[in-house]
C-alpha cells in the first residue's frame, strides 16, 4: 500500500504507522465517564471509506488524516492532521463535533 503524504509525496507503507479512527474527538476533562470510555475504547468498523490517523514517522513526522476504503484499501484522500484540526476549531460548528 502507498500513501501520498501532502509534504513528501507518494511513499510506501513502511514509512507510516497506523493509529486509528480519526473521527473520534478527545472529550473535555469534565465529560462523563461514558464519553471517555467511548473515546478510549469503542470504535466503529465501517465498511467503505473511513477516516483514520496515520503518522509519517519515517518521513516528515506529520500526522495525517487518511480516507481509506476498508474494502479495497483504495486511498481516497490524505490531509495534514494539524490543518484538519485547526480548520475544525475555526469553523463555527467545529467545537464539540464528533463524540
Amino acid at each position: 500500500m502507498r500513501l501520498t503524504c501532502p509534504f513528501c509525496g507518494s511513499r510506501g507503507l513502511e514509512e507510516f504507522t497506523y493509529r486509528g479512527d480519526a473521527t473520534v474527538r478527545r472529550p473535555s476533562a469534565d465529560a462523563s465517564q461514558e464519553a471517555w470510555v467511548d473515546y478510549v475504547y469503542l470504535r466503529d468498523n465501517p465498511c467503505g471509506p473511513h477516516r483514520e490517523l496515520w503518522y509519517h514517522g519515517a518521513g516528515c513526522r506529520s500526522w495525517l488524516v487518511v480516507t481509506r476504503d476498508t474494502r479495497t484499501h483504495q486511498i481516497l484522500d490524505v490531509r495534514n492532521a494539524r490543518d484538519v484540526m485547526l480548520a475544525e476549531r475555526m469553523s463555527p460548528e467545529g467545537k464539540g463535533e464528533g463524540s
Binding site: G12, T17, A81
Partner: protein, 1001 residues
C-alpha cells in the same frame, strides 16, 4: 537407460542455444554435456534422459511435462553443500559449467525406487487420506503413520548449513510495467517506450521473446525470435526503459505495487564476491500491462504421467529454442489447431509422427491435412485411453471414432488440452476471472486499478492480434501516464488458428481402475478417481475439493491442473464450469526464496545496530555488550581474575556505592522542546505540575496513556525560558516522540511548541558515587561552582568542561548516590570517558554497565521497564500522589476510574528472601504463605530481581495486593516453571538510603 552417450537428441541449433561452446554437468552422478542457453531439462533431454524424478505420493517415475516454470514433475536438487537447493524445476534451471544436479524423492535410485510400491497402495492413499488417518487413534499417528509418510512422501532436502549467498531488496519506479516479453509484451513496451514513458519490462526467462522463440514462425519475413531480439535492442537503447530478464513478477499489491524476484546469479555456479544471488524488487508502477502469456493444459487419460508424455507446446519449445527432439517417434494428441503445429515441427526435424489423435470430428479442422503432410496416421474423434512403458512411453492405446482401440508404438506423446491464460496477477486483489466457452478458458474480468491484460494472458492467441493487442495496451498505458503515444509499426505475422473443442479428459466409459491412474495434478498425485471420490463424499465446492485432495496445493500451485480438476468436478456434479467456480490465486505466482524476502537483513544485520558514543572505548576496555532495543550497550566491564559476571557486576555496584563509577546513558531518549507554550504542553502530557519549573532545575515526570495506565517516565530540565530538554526511557524514545507529535498536531494544534530529537546530539554519561563531585571538579571549567549550595540535587546547567567543550550538567541520580549526568557533544563522548578514567583514577573510578545500572536502581526502588509494563498505574507504582487534580492531562480522566485506584490492586513493594541466598526469579507469583497456588490466591508478581551486594541478599521489586500495608509480612514467592517456592519478606521498595540523604550530600 540414461547412459551418457552424448547429445544424440540434439537435432539442430536451437535459437536460444550456443552450440559452439560446451558445458559439462552431472545428474545423479553421471556426467553430461550441454550448451550455454540450455536449461537442465533441455540438456538432459538432448542426452536422451527421460526420467527426472519420482512423484510425491506414489513415487511414480516422472519425466518432463513442460518447458517452463509451470513444471510439476521435474523437480531436482541443484548444487551441493551449503548451496544445495531442493525442488528446483529443471525446466527453468539454466545450465552452467560444473552444475551438479540430483534427482529427489527416490531410494535407492531413480530407476529402481523401493517405495514405488506406494503405487500399489494407492487405494488407501487416495483423496482425504491424511484427514481420514487422523481419525484413527492419535497415538498411531505419531508412532506409525507420520514416520512412514515422512520417509515416503516429501520432496527434496534443504541444505544443512546456512545459506552462504547474499540477497538484496530494492525498489523500482516506472510509468508502465510490462510483465512478459512475448509478442504482446514487447509490442507494449515498444509503444510505451517510444512515447517517452519510463518502462520496466520484466521477463522471467533468461531471454526475451516468449513463444516467439518457441515457435517456428516468421515476422516480417524474418524468424520471429530475431524480431524479438531486435525489439530488445531497441528497448535497451532507450534511456528510460529497463529490460529485466530472469525477473519474475510474482504478486500484485495495493497502490500499483508489484513484487518481483530477479535471479541475478542463479545461472552461475557461485556469484562473484559481493554480488547478490537474487534481488527482491518492489516495483511501483502507475500502469501495468500484464502480458504473461498462457499455460497449456494436459489431457487427463490413464497413465498420462509416463515419462515422455509432454505438453505439445513444450515439445515445440525443445525443438525450436533448444534444438532438441524429445523423442524419435511421436503421437500428437490435441483438441485444438495449435496442437497440430507440434506435428509439423516434429516432422520438420525428422521425428516420425506416428499418429495424430484429434478429439474433434474429421473435417472439423486442418488436422487431416497436417496428418497427410507429416505422413501420420490420423484419428479424428479419437482418444488416448492408455499409455504403456514404466520408465518411459513405449506405446499408447488409441480409440478411434468407431470406438475400436489400436496400439500405436511411440516414445513421445505431445498433448494439448488448450491454453489457460496466465491470469494470476489479475486475481491477487480478489477479482475472479470469468469462463469463456469459445476459448475454453478463464479470462480476466475485473482488473486491479492501473492494470491491463494483453495477448495470450487476455485470451488473444493469434500472433498478429497479440502484437496489436500489446501495442494498444502499451499505448494506452502511456497515454494514461500523460504521454502522447501512437501505435508503433508492427511486423507482419502469418495468421495462426486456435480453433478449439473442449477436451479435459479421455475417460468416458473407462473402468474405475483406469481413472485411478489418470493424473490431474501431477505434483500432488491427484487422480481423476480422487476428484470423483471427493465429489461423492460431498466435497463439491471447489475450495473444499482443493483442500480435501490437496489438488493445486503443491509448489506449482496447480498451474497445469486447476482447470482440468474444475472441469471434472463440473461434469461429475452436472454443473457448468462457471457454476462450479474457480479458486482464487494468491501471490506468489512462483516460489520465492525466503532469503530473497529477507534481503540483506539477516544474521547480525537483521536489524541495524546503534552504537553509543563511547562504544570504541568500551570495546578497548573489554566490555561485554548487550542489545537494548537497537542499541548495543556495555553490560559489564570484566577485570582479570573475576570469576564470573556476578562478581564483576557486584564490584561495579560497590564502586558506585563506595567511591565513584560512570556509565554511558546516551541511549535514553532526549527531546529538545522549545516554544512559548512549552511549559503548558509539558503540563498536559505529564501527570504532575510543570508550570513553575525554574530555569536551571530538573523535575521527574510520569506520563500516562489516555486509558490511565503508566506509559513512560523520565526527567525534564528547564534550560531557559521556553526551552526544555526531556528524557525518556531507552525503549520508548521513538514512541514518546510520536506521542508528543500526536498531542501537538492533533489534540492541541493551538499550542506554539517545537520538538526535535537530541538523543544522538549529546553523549551523556552518568557519574555516580560519593566521590562523583570530586571527579567532576577535575572536569568542569572555572568558575562553575559544584558545591551542594550552588548546584543542588535536581539542578541543571549549561557550562563548559575540559577547557572549553560545551556541556550540560544535570544533578540526577538513578542509583541513589550523589550523582550527575554530564552531556557533551557526541563527538567528544569517547574522549570524555577516557578523561574520566584518567582524572577519576585517584578516587577509584570504574565504568559500570547496564547490569550494575539495573542492580543500583533496584536497590533504590526505582521502577523501570519491568515495572512500566503497560499494565500498571501511577498508584501501582507508588506514585498516586503525583497525579495532579488541578489540571487536565493525558490519562487524567481514565486514571480516576475506581478500579485503577483500588487499594486492592497489586502495588509496588520490595522483596527480601528470608534466606538471603535464595535466588529470586522475575515473573514469580506472590501467594499468602501456605496458600495453594491457584488463580484465586494469586496476589501479584515479582517484576525485577538482583543480587544486592549492598544489602548482602537477593532482592526484588514487585506488585502485591495492598502492598504498602503489608511491609514486614512473610509471603510465598512461587515460580511454577521451576516448581520452586521461596519464603520472602515484604519490605519497602527502597533498600538503600531510604531517607535520600546521599542524594543531597
Amino acid at each position: 537407460m540414461s547412459a551418457a552417450f552424448g547429445q544424440t537428441f540434439r537435432v539442430k541449433s536451437g535459437n536460444g542455444v550456443d552450440v559452439s561452446r560446451t558445458l559439462h554437468f552431472s545428474f545423479d552422478g553421471k556426467d553430461y554435456t550441454g550448451h550455454p542457453g540450455d536449461t537442465l531439462a533441455s540438456a538432459l533431454l538432448a542426452n536422451g534422459v527421460r526420467l527426472f524424478g519420482r512423484s510425491f505420493k506414489y513415487h511414480r517415475p516422472r519425466g518432463l511435462l513442460s518447458a517452463g516454470p509451470e513444471e510439476p514433475n521435474a523437480l531436482v536438487e541443484l548444487r551441493d553443500g551449503a548451496r544445495r537447493e531442493p525442488n528446483t524445476r529443471a525446466t527453468v534451471a539454466e545450465l552452467f559449467d560444473g552444475l551438479i544436479a540430483t534427482s529427489q524423492n527416490r531410494w535407492p535410485n531413480l530407476s529402481f525406487d523401493a517405495l514405488g510400491m506406494n503405487g500399489m497402495f494407492s487405494s488407501i492413499l487416495g483423496a482425504g487420506f491424511y484427514y481420514k488417518t487422523f481419525m484413527w487413534p492419535a497415538s498411531f499417528w505419531e508412532r506409525v503413520y507420520e514416520p512412514i509418510i515422512r520417509k515416503a512422501a516429501g520432496l527434496g532436502r534443504a541444505a544443512d548449513e546456512g545459506d552462504p549467498d547474499l540477497y538484496e531488496k530494492a525498489t523500482a519506479f516506472c510509468d508502465v510495467l510490462v510483465v512478459g516479453s512475448g509478442s504482446s509484451g514487447l509490442a507494449a513496451a515498444l509503444a510505451a517506450g517510444r512515447a517517452g514513458a519510463r518502462v520496466i519490462l520484466c521477463e522471467q526467462d533468461s531471454l526475451v521473446g516468449g513463444r516467439l522463440r518457441d515457435e517456428h514462425m516468421a515476422l516480417d519475413g524474418k524468424l520471429a525470435w530475431q524480431w524479438a531480439e531486435q525489439a530488445r535492442r531497441e528497448l535497451e537503447a532507450m534511456p528510460d526503459v529497463s529490460v529485466m530478464t530472469r525477473t519474475c513478477v510474482f504478486g500484485t499489491y495495493d497502490g500499483g505495487t508489484y513484487g518481483a524476484v530477479e535471479r541475478v546469479a542463479d545461472h552461475v555456479a557461485v556469484p562473484r564476491v559481493g554480488q547478490p544471488r537474487q534481488c527482491l524488487w518492489r516495483i511501483v508502477a502507475r500502469e501495468c500491462v500484464m502480458a504473461a502469456g498462457a499455460i497449456e493444459r494436459p489431457v487427463v487419460f490413464p497413465h498420462n504421467d509416463r515419462p515422455g508424455v509432454m505438453l505439445a507446446g513444450a515439445v515445440r519449445t525443445y525443438i525450436n529454442r533448444f534444438g532438441v527432439a524429445p523423442g524419435r517417434r511421436a503421437v500428437v494428441y490435441t483438441c485444438n489447431d495449435d496442437g497440430l503445429r507440434t506435428a509439423l515441427d516434429l516432422y520438420r526435424v525428422g521425428v516420425t509422427v506416428a499418429a495424430i489423435v484429434d478429439s474433434r470430428p474429421g473435417g472439423a479442422s486442418i488436422a487431416a491435412e497436417v496428418a497427410a503432410k507429416c505422413g501420420a496416421r490420423f484419428f479424428p474423434s479419437g482418444a488416448i485411453v492408455d499409455c504403456y512403458g514404466r520408465t518411459g512411453v513405449k506405446a499408447v492405446l488409441v480409440r478411434d471414432a468407431a470406438g475400436k482401440a489400436k496400439s500405436v508404438s511411440c516414445d513421445l506423446v505431445a498433448m494439448s488440452g488448450g491454453w489457460s491464460p496466465n491470469v494470476a496477477l489479475t486475481t491477487h486483489k480478489g477479482a475472479r476471472p470469468t469462463w469463456h466457452d469459445d476459448l475454453c478458458a478463464f479470462l480476466p474480468f475485473t482488473l486491479p486499478p492501473g492494470m491491463a491484460a494483453a495477448g495470450a494472458a487476455a485470451g488473444v492467441f493469434d500472433t498478429a492480434e497479440g502484437l496489436h493487442d500489446g501495442a494498444m495496451a502499451g499505448q494506452w498505458a502511456a497515454v494514461r501516464c500523460g504521454f502522447e503515444a501512437t501505435l508503433p509499426a508492427l511486423p507482419e505475422a502469418e495468421p495462426t488458428s486456435y480453433a478449439i473443442h473442449p477436451l479435459f479428459h479421455a475417460l468416458k466409459g473407462l473402468a474405475a481402475s483406469k481413472k485411478a491412474k489418470a493424473f490431474v495434478d501431477f505434483q500432488n498425485d491427484v487422480t481423476a478417481k480422487d476428484v470423483g471420490l471427493a465429489a461423492r463424499e460431498g466435497f463439491v465446492s471447489v475450495e473444499h475439493l482443493k483442500r480435501y485432495t490437496t489438488l493445486g496445493m503443491a509448489t506449482d500451485q496447480g498451474k497445469t491442473s486447476n482447470v482440468n480438476a474444475l472441469a471434472l468436478l463440473a461434469e461429475i456434479t452436472e454443473r457448468s464450469i462457471p457454476q462450479t467456480g474457480t479458486t482464487l490465486i494468491r501471490p506468489p505466482t512462483q516460489p520465492v526464496a525466503i532469503g530473497a524476502l529477507a534481503g540483506a537483513h539477516r544474521g547480525r544485520h537483521f536489524k541495524p545496530t546503534r552504537l553509543p558514543p563511547t562504544h570504541q572505548w568500551a570495546e578497548q576496555q573489554g566490555a561485554v555488550f548487550t542489545a537494548n532495543g537497537l542499541w548495543l550497550r556495555a553490560q559489564w566491564f570484566p577485570r582479570a581474575g573475576e570469576k564470573d559476571w556476578l562478581e564483576t557486576v557486584s564490584r561495579e555496584v560497590r564502586t558506585v556505592r563506595e567511591a565513584v563509577g560512570f556509565c554511558d546513558v546516551t541511549t535514553l531518549g532526549k527531546i529538545d522542546i522549545q516554544g512559548p507554550d512549552a511549559a503548558e504542553f509539558l503540563n498536559r502530557v505529564y501527570v504532575n505540575a510543570w508550570l513553575k519549573l525554574a530555569v536551571g532545575r530538573v523535575r521527574y515526570g510520569l506520563m500516562l496513556r489516555e486509558d490511565g495506565f503508566a506509559y513512560d517516565d523520565g526527567t525534564t530540565a528547564c534550560l531557559g525560558e521556553n526551552h526544555y530538554v526531556m528524557t525518556t526511557t531507552t525503549a520508548n524514545a521513538g514512541g514518546v516522540m510520536a506521542h508528543l507529535e500526536f498531542c501537538h498536531q492533533w489534540l492541541w494544534p493551538e499550542l506554539d511548541v517545537q520538538f526535535i530529537s537530541v538523543t544522538d546530539e549529546w553523549a551523556q554519561l552518568a557519574v555516580a558515587g560519593p566521590k562523583s563531585r570530586d571527579v567532576l571538579a577535575k572536569i568542569v571549567d572555572a568558575p562553575f561552582d559544584l558545591s551542594n549550595e550552588a548546584f543542588p540535587y535536581m539542578a541543571a546547567a549549561e557550562l563548559t568542561v575540559c577547557g572549553g567543550v560545551k556541556a550540560r550538567l544535570f544533578r540526577l541520580s538513578f542509583s541513589g548516590e550523589m550523582a550527575y549526568e554530564l552531556a557533551v557533544p557526541a563527538r567528544y563522548g569517547d574522549a570524555l570517558a577516557r578523561r574520566l578514567m584518567e582524572v577519576g583514577a585517584p578516587f577509584g573510578i570504574a565504568p559500570y554497565g547496564t547490569e550494575a545500572l539495573g542492580v543500583l536502581r533496584i536497590e533504590k526502588g526505582h521502577p523501570a521497564g519491568p515495572e512500566l509494563n503497560g499494565q500498571t498505574t501511577a498508584h501501582d507504582l507508588g506514585m498516586g500522589r503525583l497525579l495532579s487534580t488541578k489540571k487536565d492531562f493525558i490519562g487524567s480522566r481514565m486514571a480516576r476510574r475506581p478500579a485503577l485506584t483500588d487499594p486492592q490492586r497489586p502495588t509496588l513493594i520490595g522483596i527480601r528472601p528470608v534466606n538471603p541466598m535464595d535466588a529470586l526469579v522475575a515473573g514469580s507469583h506472590f501467594l499468602p504463605q501456605g496458600a495453594a497456588p491457584t488463580a484465586e490466591t494469586d496476589q501479584g508478581w515479582l517484576s525485577s530481581v538482583a543480587w544486592s551486594p549492598s544489602v548482602g541478599s537477593w532482592i526484588g521489586l514487585g506488585f502485591l495486593t495492598d502492598g504498602p500495608a503489608r511491609h514486614g509480612e512473610i509471603i510465598s514467592v512461587h515460580n511454577p516453571l521451576a516448581g520452586a517456592v521461596i519464603a520472602a519478606r515484604v519490605v519497602d521498595p527502597v533498600f538503600v538510603d531510604p531517607k535520600g540523604e546521599r542524594l543531597h550530600g
